[in-house]
């Protein structure tokens, strides 16, 4: 396999599966879904940094998702129709709670956390919640180059 992947840790196949799981956790409505908001970038980047300790959980967990999908529906997870995807993620929540919780928490961190980490692209979730971006009041009154009021 050529090393043309855009990901730091994930394989393209893992990323396809993960994107679908993340989009069940934060689906699109009039605001973007998890993957549309960059949550995969967030998770991938952290797996290469602060979340190195969770790498094995992702590798095994994503295999497990595909395995559940093939057993129930005879297809890899990313190829499933929408209601079947929901069924698999619900099954994951029930039968593989540790991995489900990990992905669920990381997805929400990526979606609602600071854009600096790769998720929440264009601060989309903050705008969805009606918060200013940057969410800071009074900042314009300060000259931050020397740390004191201008």
């Amino acid at each position: 396999m050529g090393k043309s992947s855009v990901w730091e840790f994930l394989s393209d196949e893992q990323a396809r599966t993960l994107a679908v799981v993340c989009d069940e956790i934060v689906p699109a409505d009039d605001f973007p879904s998890a993957s549309q908001a960059g949550v995969l970038d967030y998770i991938d980047r952290q797996l290469a940094r602060s979340y190195r300790r969770h790498r094995a959980a992702y590798t095994d967990g994503l295999l497990h998702v595909d395995e559940m999908s093939r057993i129930r529906f005879g297809q890899p997870f990313a190829a499933l129709a929408s209601d079947h995807r929901f069924e698999i993620v619900s099954a994951l929540e029930q039968y593989d709670k540790p991995f489900f919780n990990l992905v669920r928490n990381h997805t929400l961190e990526g979606y609602y956390g600071s854009p600096r980490h790769g998720g929440n692209r264009d601060a989309v979730s903050w705008r969805m919640l009606g918060l200013a971006e940057p969410p800071i009041r009074g900042r314009s009154q300060y000259d931050l180059t020397n740390g004191s009021p201008s």
Partner: protein, 550 residues
């Protein structure tokens, strides 16, 4: 290395004050700090990596790598914790310690908080005790802390506080919307709400400007330097005297003693990892409850085989923090106005005086309201994922209020810090091992506090409410950690004298939250500071009487 009068281990709330008081009195001082010196420019406003929300690590130390601790679960199994994990009970490792990034509530304890055993009697299985000093003994030093560190607020709305000679030096910040919603509701309930005290400039003070009212406060360094900790108040004063040298990224290995059983200084690893000795006439340990106990326990010698000050196996016992409980209320109108710092209104009606309960605590609206904190605070029954979760975020983020408070803990001798027999840190030193649990009566008080918070929210118009009152099965310490080197008159049941000197060794002092006998129903920072001023005052007086000089 040049011998000095005093070496202080830890540049936090207490260590910074001791350094300033000694340096101003003319003593030569070396202030050692294991962490770095951050400034306002290091405020990254990172909601996933700060000192309160540490999903991606601690912003102000220690690092996850090489700084483990161990905790023992109720089944007796030991687990290793990373510095950014809750079970680690972290405070901070940096100049300023917790005060660089704290929420900065600056409370005086109440007179009864110093006489808990006399007031209530010790519940079974507890080590509840009175302090050997009173509120009146500490009052002048509370005032000194309020004026030198810089506190804003207004106590005039409440009768529930000890006598004070002077008001706070700064007025409160103007009310935010939560204050305006909660204040009349509290009054209708017959309570006494007021503007809580904060170590935060509401007006220009001490040469720095006022709070700019962002909501990124508790857990963050202030980017306009309006939040007052030891790093921007007393430590610069200490350094300006020319008598104090601050050395950062220095990890103290042990307190060195001579053949007569007196301390002669400390051995420490410097920023390059080289072992150094700093000799001194006196040693002050101000490393926070867990690390102060660890340093004493790690300072073993022929004369002190169980560590310094530990002749009667008291070092590390009575570990306590606060048991936080409260409630969240959901409203059908917007309650959130994005005006920081967040916490603005408090009541002290429930700190004492409830029949059947040995104490209580302050209740206040909660600081933290960034989107990441809301993901697990949606109404009970809300799906934890999917479209329903996303829509609930949108519905409730700006329409909810959290009221919480620190229940004063009933201390227990079995809640303790020892040294782990196996795990070592990157310097090869045995690490902190936590064992024991919170006394069950603390949980009973916490449950009542949660009900009270819920009642307040309902009166304020909440359409749904949910109590928040867990029963964690591990010690409580964290940023409010205290108690491990108890102050007392009897060497068999305490570690230091009322002047914070080890019973065992007349030139070693422990000055920080470790000495708290009980921890009040309040954030402890101002009391740590007042105790540091009082102990420094005694130390300087004795020094002038030429004590300690060998």
């Amino acid at each position: 290395m040049k011998r000095v009068n005093a070496v202080i281990v830890g540049a936090g709330a207490a260590g910074g004050i001791v350094a300033k008081e000694l340096a101003v009195a003319g003593l030569s001082v070396v202030l050692l700090e294991r962490g770095k010196w951050y400034t306002a420019h290091d405020c990254r406003k990172d909601d996933l990596r700060n000192q309160r929300t540490t999903l991606l690590g601690n912003a102000f130390g220690p690092e996850d790598e090489g700084n483990p601790r161990v905790w023992v679960d109720p089944q007796g199994d030991a687990h290793t914790a990373l510095a950014s994990e809750g079970a680690y009970q972290n405070n901070a490792a940096c100049v300023g310690g917790g005060t660089l990034s704290y929420g900065a509530q600056a409370w005086r304890y109440m007179p009864q908080d110093f006489r808990m055993k006399s007031t209530y009697g010790a519940p079974d299985g507890s080590s509840l005790e009175d302090w050997p000093i009173s509120y009146d003994d500490l009052e002048p030093f509370y005032e000194k802390a309020e004026y030198e560190i810089g506190i804003s607020g207004d106590y005039s709305g409440t009768p529930f506080h000890g006598p004070r000679r002077r008001p706070l030096p700064m007025p409160p910040l103007p009310p935010n919307r939560e204050f305006e919603i909660l204040e009349p509701a509290a009054r209708r309930l017959g309570l006494h709400p007021f503007h809580l005290p904060m170590a935060r400039n509401s007006i220009a003070y001490n040469g720095r400007g006022p709070c700019m009212r962002c909501r990124w406060c508790c857990g963050f360094a202030c980017e306009v330097d309006a939040k007052n900790g030891s790093q921007n108040t007393v430590i610069p004063v200490a350094l300006n005297t020319g008598n104090c040298e601050l050395r950062t990224e220095c990890m103290v290995r042990e307190i060195l003693t001579d053949e007569r059983g007196r301390a002669r200084g400390v051995a420490y690893f410097d920023a390059d990892g080289h072992l150094q000795e700093q000799l001194a006439d006196l040693v002050v340990v101000s490393s926070c409850a867990a690390e102060s106990a660890r340093l004493l326990l790690n300072s073993k010698s022929r004369l002190f085989p169980n560590g310094l000050g530990n002749r009667y196996d008291q070092v590390g016992r009575n570990l306590q923090g606060h048991h936080y409980t409260g409630a969240i209320g959901y409203f059908d109108f917007e309650t959130y106005d994005d005006l920081g710092p967040g916490a603005s209104i408090a009541i002290c009606d429930y700190n004492h005086g409830t029949p059947g309960l040995s104490g209580g605590g302050m209740l206040a609206n909660e600081f933290i309201r960034l989107p990441i904190h809301m993901i697990d605070r949606l109404p009970p029954g809300t799906s934890s994922w999917g479209l329903a979760h996303k829509q609930a975020m949108r519905q409730w983020h700006k329409r909810s209020i959290v009221i919480m408070g620190p229940t004063q803990q009933i201390p227990s001798a079995e809640a303790r810090v020892t040294l782990d027999p196996l795990v070592k840190d990157k310097w090869g030193l045995p690490v902190v091992r936590f064992s024991g649990n919170v006394h069950p009566h603390t949980f009973e008080i916490g449950e009542v506090q949660a009900q009270r918070a819920e009642t307040w929210l309902k009166e304020a118009g909440a359409i749904h409410t949910s109590q928040m009152a867990g029963k964690p099965s591990l010690v409580s310490a964290g940023q409010h950690q205290a108690g491990t080197c108890r102050m007392g008159s009897d060497p068999r049941s305490s570690v230091v004298t009322p002047d914070c000197r080890l019973h065992d060794i007349d030139n070693v002092f422990v000055i920080d939250g470790s000495v708290h006998v009980t921890n009040g129903g309040f954030n402890p920072a101002l009391t740590i500071m007042a105790v540091a001023y009082k102990a420094s005052n005694a130390l300087v007086r004795n020094w002038k009487g030429t004590a300690f000089r060998s």
